[in-house]
């Protein structure tokens, strides 16, 4: 019974999150005009009315399978987020490791999407994305391990419970900032948009149209929502909070993180890949190590 409620709740969270992220994107770009709330629906219908195009000799299986796989990864990532004490769809002991697998497979899926189109600009975008996506994943794993240390468990529900004393964002602010980089990279937006970027005429999405493109864009937003729910659970206390019921707190915190992500998308520049790589390896990873060491010392001492 709880599982059924949790499933419905998570699906609602996914749908609402994808819709609000699309609306926030539109508002950030052109401002709040008339009909901005229904904009995602209009765009979706437009895309459904278009033909799905083909290229010459692509790898059909990987090309057409990549968007549904991306969506499945988002669903898998969302399934470990608890909506209330004991209401977790997949209560795995190693939720953090599952997230690591989701992040790694996301890189694989985006690469396959760009590679299998048999198009030059899509290929360049896919390779660039891998070069940036892997170091960001490393940074995020250290941050997640640091968040798991006070809870002494890799399960997300245990991490949420451990925040009764205080939310992790207060104790580990650097971790939260580094973790936000992961969100930008998983759905390749803004400063981390190396996969679908404007300088390669749309990147991995340059050759897709119609329902294929709609699925890809929805999957991008879905992984962002899953990330936001994860950030809300691991850093903002998940279902903890006064007055309102647990699931409502999860919704509100997820939406807050989504708004933050959309703001960050439009605020910062996308550096050339070589510069971003230098920044990640020279600044990002050492910061993550230092952060982990500090949190470790705090927990031991």
């Amino acid at each position: 019974m709880t599982a059924a409620f949790t499933l419905v709740g998570l699906l609602l969270l996914l749908a609402l999150g994808v819709w609000s992220a699309a609306v926030c994107d539109r508002v950030a770009l052109v401002g709040a005009g008339r009909g901005v709330i229904a904009h995602p629906l209009r765009q979706a219908v437009l895309l459904l009315a278009q033909q799905q195009n083909e290229t010459e000799r692509p790898d059909w299986l990987n090309w057409k399978l990549a968007p549904p796989l991306y969506l499945a990864l988002a669903a898998a990532g969302l399934s470990v987020v608890p909506l209330a004490p004991g209401a977790v769809l997949a209560d795995v002991d190693a939720g953090i490791v599952l997230w690591g697998a989701v992040e790694a497979l996301t890189v694989v899926v985006v690469f396959l999407h760009g590679w299998s189109a048999n198009s030059q600009l899509a290929l360049i975008a896919a390779y660039r994305y891998v070069a940036i996506g892997l170091p960001v994943m490393l940074v995020s794993m250290f941050v997640l391990i640091a968040a798991a240390l006070p809870a002494e468990s890799l399960a997300i529900s245990a991490i949420v419970e451990s925040q009764r004393a205080g939310w992790n964002i207060l104790g580990q602010p650097l971790g939260f900032v580094l973790f936000l980089l992961l969100g930008l990279s998983l759905s390749f937006r803004g400063p981390f948009n190396y996969a679908d970027s404007s300088d390669v005429a749309g990147g991995t999405a340059t050759e897709i149209s119609g329902a294929h493109r709609l699925t890809w864009e929805i999957a991008r937003l879905a992984i962002l929502v899953a990330f936001a729910a994860m950030a809300a659970a691991v850093f903002l206390g998940g279902y903890l909070g006064p007055l309102l019921p647990g699931p409502l707190w999860v919704f509100l915190k997820t939406l807050a993180v989504l708004a933050l992500m959309v703001a960050a998308t439009h605020a910062f520049v996308r550096l050339p890949p070589a510069r971003m790589l230098t920044l990640l390896w020279v600044a990002g990873l050492p910061l993550a190590f230092v952060h982990l060491a500090i949190v470790g010392l705090e927990v031991l001492g």
């Binding site: 033909q51 390779y127 400063p191 970027s197 404007s198 340059t206 897709i208 439009h266 520049v269 890949p273």
Partner: protein, 432 residues
């Protein structure tokens, strides 16, 4: 019915148009991009309407046909300005607003009132297939190439970055790639994402005539400083907006374009605030120092923004008394690289708006011998000829990664690019 309800929803979505920009149309397309009811797509696959703006060259016809066939069904073509080798479903004069026609086309397409345009080219691969098996792997040898000649891809030289030998891939980019100036066609050889060599095939279209006309007129009769400086500011803002689009700062690019439109119409605009926002986003950090550094003698030939960005305070306006009365001082930056040119654009736009505001409409200036247009000194013949030094801007692209190469190309205005072409008589270069 459900289908017509869905169709009516599809019709209210912003029209997705892919712009194929020709001569004298770049500014108008840039202004069109500010409208929220219209989306200018980055790839033809994302668009429903092909917007052919301005006059195209004969040599661009085959590229336009291929572009047309890449749009997904249902599709239509709108010819804006009458110079298209492809007959469209509708046409609008260049002076008119194409938006009503675009909306009509889109509505007709999605409601089923208008048929989707058929393919212009036959659906066949361009090269005849010779080989065994689906992919030619049925022949003898590791690459299946014997006896049908499929060779092992042997790279001609080591990767310029780290000695890794990757297969070289050559392709032609342009003339309608949104990241390049309209009309520019390059033949690029990549190894991975590093450009090993680039060859100019066709020069980009020149600056739009109606923007350059007031500067030409200022040579013979007095022109209003306010108007001239506002055109300059608008041009610099549009160039900056293009660079910001490359750097994924779409919101800031939109603001720059809107400000450019407001500059032309004469409203009061706050460029300084916009430039502060650009700096805060870190856009200048995106260009590594020394990227696209122009040699001094070439900058001296080209003049204009590129020369001042190299540290030489050479500006025709400094010699005019009317400008000196307004307190004009040439701005310079050191380095002559992409970052310096971007800063030059930003600060000259701010300066131009300030001059326009101080001058109001009363002050007039007449230039004696030369005019400082937004694209540097105006050419005597009316066309931007290759410079005496014979410098080829494609030399700046060698060894650059794709985004850096696009930044280098975008940091020059089209007049500077036309000047930095080789002098050898290449048929097809710059043909009208």
């Amino acid at each position: 019915m459900a289908v017509s309800r869905l169709a009516s929803w599809a019709v209210t979505a912003p029209v997705a148009a892919f712009p194929a920009v020709g001569a004298d149309a770049a500014d108008r397309v840039c202004d069109l991009a500010t409208d929220p009811s219209l989306t200018l797509a980055r790839s033809p696959r994302h668009a429903s309407v092909l917007l052919v703006a301005g006059q195209l060259r004969d040599a661009d016809a085959s590229a336009l046909c291929r572009l047309h066939d890449q749009l997904p069904h249902p599709r239509a073509t709108l010819v804006w300005g009458g110079g298209s080798p492809v007959p469209g479903s509708a046409s609008v004069a260049l002076e008119d607003d194409p938006r009503p026609a675009l909306c009509d086309l889109a509505r007709g397409l999605f409601r089923g009132e208008r048929d989707s345009e058929p393919d212009l080219l036959a659906n066949e691969p361009p090269n005849p297939w010779r080989g065994l098996g689906d992919f030619g792997q049925g022949g003898q040898g590791m690459m299946g190439g014997t006896p049908y000649g499929r060779m092992m891809p042997m790279p001609p030289q080591a990767d310029l970055r780290d000695g890794l030998m990757l297969d070289a891939y050559t392709a032609t980019v342009g003339p309608f790639l949104p990241t390049l100036p309209p009309g520019l066609v390059l033949e690029v050889t990549w190894q991975g994402d590093i450009i090993q060599s680039a060859r100019l095939v066709r020069v980009p279209f020149e600056p739009p005539r109606d923007a350059a006309a007031p500067f030409h007129r200022a040579l013979s009769e007095p022109g209003s400083i306010s108007v001239l400086e506002r055109i300059r500011a608008a041009n610099h803002l549009r160039c900056l907006a293009h660079v910001l689009e490359l750097l994924e700062l779409h919101r800031l690019a939109r603001r720059c374009r809107r400000t450019a439109v407001q500059a032309i119409t004469g409203e009061t605009i706050d460029v300084a605030r916009l430039m502060r926002a650009v700096r805060r986003s870190g856009a200048l950090a995106a260009a590594p120092p020394g990227l696209g550094r122009l040699p001094e003698e070439v900058a001296a030939e080209i003049g204009g923004v590129a020369r001042r960005a190299g540290g030489k305070p050479v500006d025709v306006r400094a010699r005019q008394r009317e400008y000196a009365d307004l307190g004009f001082e040439p701005i310079t930056h050191a380095g002559g690289d992409v970052r310096a040119r971007l800063l030059q654009w930003m600060e000259e736009a701010e300066q131009a708006v300030k001059l326009a505001e101080h001058a109001r409409l009363r002050e007039r200036v007449r230039f004696a011998h030369a005019v400082e247009s937004p694209w540097g000194p105006l050419p005597a013949t009316g066309h931007y000829e290759p410079s005496e030094t014979g410098f080829d801007f494609t030399d700046l692209l060698v060894g650059c990664e794709w985004l850096e190469a696009m930044l280098v190309v975008a940091s020059f205005d089209v007049a500077a690019l036309a000047r930095m072409t080789p002098r050898s008589p290449d048929p097809g270069l710059g043909e009208p």
